[in-house]
């Protein structure tokens, strides 16, 4: 069973979580349609280390996890507030 280290609840069964997709830059509000389509619909599908939004369903809690897509190893997690403070609100 795969274990996710949740910043609020500690180590938990991965079945308690949903992945919310990669953390991405929000495009400027006046950007063109192609940029919005890329942001909303297209996944980067990176092979390597990615940062993703994850959701702990029993607590309705969003946070960010760093994961290696080659090994499916979870390297680090942040509460959303700490992540945004460290990396900027537009990531």
């Amino acid at each position: 069973m795969k274990i996710m280290p949740c910043p609020l609840n500690g180590p938990r069964n991965i079945s308690e979580f949903s992945c919310g997709g990669e953390v991405e830059h929000l495009p400027p509000p006046d950007c063109d349609h192609a940029t919005w389509i890329d942001y909303v619909y297209l996944e980067n599908n990176t092979r390597g280390i990615v940062r993703e939004w994850w959701y702990h369903t029993p607590t309705a809690y969003w946070f960010v996890a760093e994961r290696d897509t080659r090994t499916d190893e979870i390297l680090r997690t942040w509460p959303a507030g700490e992540f945004l403070a460290e990396f900027g609100e537009r990531r």
């Binding site: 069973m1 609840n9 938990r12 069964n13 308690e16 702990h56 369903t57 029993p58 607590t59």
Partner: protein, 229 residues
């Protein structure tokens, strides 16, 4: 004889409890199972393994970025997230995250819950009330075998040496989202389960099934009160 239909408020489990032979008493506007005809046996069972429906007991919730400041201003002492702290009037303040609090009363004297309900107003709100009284159900699992029984239904290690009194786990129990609070009654190990009231009959059935191998029983509030002493 008191019947649950005589009351405006009823637990989702009242039909199940009635079929199990519940004898009713009034509490907080509800008809609640006081006992099932064997008070002595139920009290003894509660120390080994038993479940009871506590849905009638008062509770409330508040959530939002400003919750902690507002609730402290109201004189509530806050614990760390995923811990509960008993307040002066006996209410348990269960902190579910930095911005969410669940308040649980163990009897119908819910002074703090009533006071907060009157203090909150839409006009100057920095947090919002969560409709716990109506949207959630509350059950309790008591007794020495309760940790072993819960291990059949929940992946979190709830054994008494790993999960302290007043610890909280918000997790999956029988594939449902459940707030598990260890809340010992007297010297007896006990776990309170707070969850979506619409699924109360389902989870009750899972608990009855899970406790059968340990000889667990359904008990009324009188037996739970006896444990509290």
């Amino acid at each position: 004889m008191t019947r649950p239909e005589e009351f405006q408020r009823r637990s989702h489990l009242y039909r199940v409890c009635r079929e199990a032979g519940a004898q009713w008493r009034a509490m907080n506007g509800f008809g609640v199972p006081a006992h099932y005809g064997d008070v002595g046996g139920e009290t003894a069972a509660a120390a080994r393994l038993a479940i009871a429906d506590l849905t009638a007991l008062p509770r409330a919730g508040y959530k939002g970025w400003g919750m902690a400041d507002w609730i402290r201003d109201q004189g509530v002492s806050l614990p760390e997230p995923n811990r509960a702290l008993r307040q002066e009037d006996g209410t348990l303040a269960c902190r579910l995250s930095s911005g969410e609090l669940l308040l649980l009363a163990d009897d119908d004297q819910a002074a703090l819950i009533d006071r907060l309900g009157h203090a909150w107003s839409m006009d100057d709100a920095v947090c919002f009330p969560v409709p716990r009284a109506d949207a959630s159900a509350r059950l309790v699992v008591t007794g020495d075998d309760s940790a072993a029984m819960m291990a059949k239904m929940c992946g979190v290690d709830l054994r008494s040496h790993r999960f302290a009194d007043h610890d909280i786990a918000q997790t999956s129990v029988a594939r449902m989202n459940v707030i598990v609070l260890r809340h010992d009654r007297g010297a007896s190990l006990a776990y309170d389960l707070i969850f979506d009231s619409a699924s109360a009959v389902y989870l009750w059935g899972c608990l009855v099934d899970a406790m059968a191998e340990f000889g667990g029983r359904i008990v009324g509030l009188n037996a739970i009160d006896a444990l509290r002493g």
